[in-house]
Symmetry: C2
Subunit: 331 residues, 2 copies
């Protein structure tokens, strides 16, 4: 193992340290706000994906994967900060959001700063030519499109499942794809296999978001570590509700008339099987993702880590009752 | 002149066309908002700077300069969209701002989209290795710092001239420096000369902002093409006011007590010489910039264009009365 070659545990710790270094070495004024984020970062699911995908046959990881992992986590943080402005969200990962704590104006700029910090991080890879097919700005644009489309469909009770899947495909799954792709490019060159990695990432992202949407109707705020049962009140229409409105058009009419209280909808979503349907949809993607994972025929450790990421992203109907944030990789 | 070698006029038209192409080829949903910007773009002062700086001894410009010029204009647009959210601005370049017309949420995302479009554009340069010292993310971070520091000093009537110059140095002058630097790197390699280009850009940017701050106290909205006399009401403290408060502390006390109406301040700023002082400060930078320009000993056409940019950025006290947006390169 050369100096630039790390095992998974070391690479993961190095990534965490690198993200913290960037957040804590920001100019004082920015740091006031970004240091708030260092204590609350999630479980680095995207970073784990980058590092696992970057493992070679011997299980060792080139340092460039650490750079990509840190950059993607910073980019993810940036999107969260702006996303919370869009949603007017008060809580994230168990603490107050930046926009709630410090105001929308500062949150806009802190998000921009984090975005540029992510790009600065990317510039640290050893051999830029090797990664020329990895277009970070294209993924950022996909995320923007997803966010905007979600925003445009706020309070659209006629949102179709097709459109909804298009939104989460961009809003969430694009960055998952980027993570798997980046990791893969570090250690592989074969076009066919790269496509499989991307597919695995894309599906895992969709599963992740579908499960997250279920949390909003299944959990209390404490166990979810963020505001829950707030999607509907903020006009964010997710699959559990789309399914419920499809089956009970009279509820949709009442929602359109502004006469459907959130509490009643919550009961109805559970009763009418909206949450179960969403879990089942996630399961279909889980099966597709598992196929991609098998087709890749990874060495044991690599296969295990990626399988664990997939399993923790997915939380089937049977597990609904034991859903705790500790059990699941935080978004 | 090779296919990739253009004269200034052609390069400028190509840059405009490229920015429009990016704005108009955005996905439909984004285009709804960005097309709004194509009809209102300014006079591309930063693009002009890139192209002029990129001219070789024969006056021809490599196509990479067009890429940089378009990227910097897109980046500038992105910062304007987010800046207008920060300032809650209603008008820009004579039309309603994106945040006023479509709401803050959409403006956040459109700004992000434009930022990533700028980075995507940058990736189009022919030889990335040649430009590795041009760190776009570093300039974005400087701009963020300037914006944030300005925001932190909102309604700070004790803001010093020193701090204020630090703010505009980052908020405005950084992107000017980037423009001059990018153009220079396209056609020059000499470190000493590159430093002079950067200095020229930095000073021109400061002059530009100081003149813009004067407009807020000198012009009506029609001739300025944007909201004026609004800085003070929004708590943005600029040099004309800093000077006035320094000379008339009793006014500062009344402002702090919330007892100084904007209209009265406007009169006082004019009477007490706050605007003149700002023009004089701009003049000091104008002299420094002129020195840098002379030291560079450019061929005639290149010198003329860069001199014109400098002259139009600067508008001395004598010209106060004839200040029209047509006379000046829009910010």
């Amino acid at each position: 193992m050369t100096e630039l070659s790390l095992n998974f545990g070391t690479a993961f710790e190095k990534t965490r340290a690198e993200v913290d270094r960037v957040l804590l070495s920001a100019p004082l004024l920015i740091r006031t706000y970004t240091s708030h984020l260092t204590f609350t970062h999630g479980k680095f699911v995207r970073a784990r994906a980058v590092l696992a995908c970057a493992m070679d046959e011997k299980g060792s990881i080139h340092n460039d994967a650490v750079v990509f992992a840190a950059a993607i986590e910073l980019l993810h943080l940036a999107t969260l900060v702006h996303d919370d402005i869009m949603d007017d969200a008060a809580m994230r990962r168990g603490v107050e959001t930046l926009q709630k704590k410090f105001g929308k104006r500062r949150a806009v700029i802190c998000g921009d700063y984090l975005l540029s910090a992510a790009l600065k991080e990317l510039a640290q890879v050893e051999d830029t030519d090797k990664y020329k097919d990895l277009d970070a700005s294209d993924y950022v644009q996909q995320i923007c499109m997803g966010e905007l489309r979600q925003s445009e469909n706020n309070f659209n009770y006629n949102l179709s499942m097709f459109c909804y899947l298009g939104i989460i495909n961009r809003k969430t799954a694009a960055l998952f794809e980027a993570s798997y792709f980046a990791g893969a490019v570090v250690c592989e060159q074969d076009e066919k296999r790269l496509r499989l990695y991307r597919r695995l990432g894309r599906y895992t992202g969709i599963i992740f978001q579908l499960t997250d949407d279920c949390i909003d109707y299944e959990c209390d705020a404490k166990s979810a570590g963020k505001s829950v049962q707030s999607d509907y009140e903020q006009g964010v229409i997710t699959l559990p509700v789309i399914h419920t409105f499809h089956n009970k058009p009279e509820l949709k009419k009442r929602a359109e008339a502004g006469e459907l209280p959130a509490k009643e909808l919550l009961d109805q979503v559970k009763k009418s099987g909206g949450v179960d349907f969403t879990h089942q949809t996630a399961k279909r993607y889980y099966e597709k993702a598992s196929e991609a994972l098998e087709a890749l025929r990874f060495p044991r450790q690599k296969a295990e880590i990626l399988k664990e990421l997939l399993d923790k992203s997915y939380c089937g109907p049977g597990k609904t009752g034991i859903f705790r944030s500790d059990d699941r990789l935080n978004i």
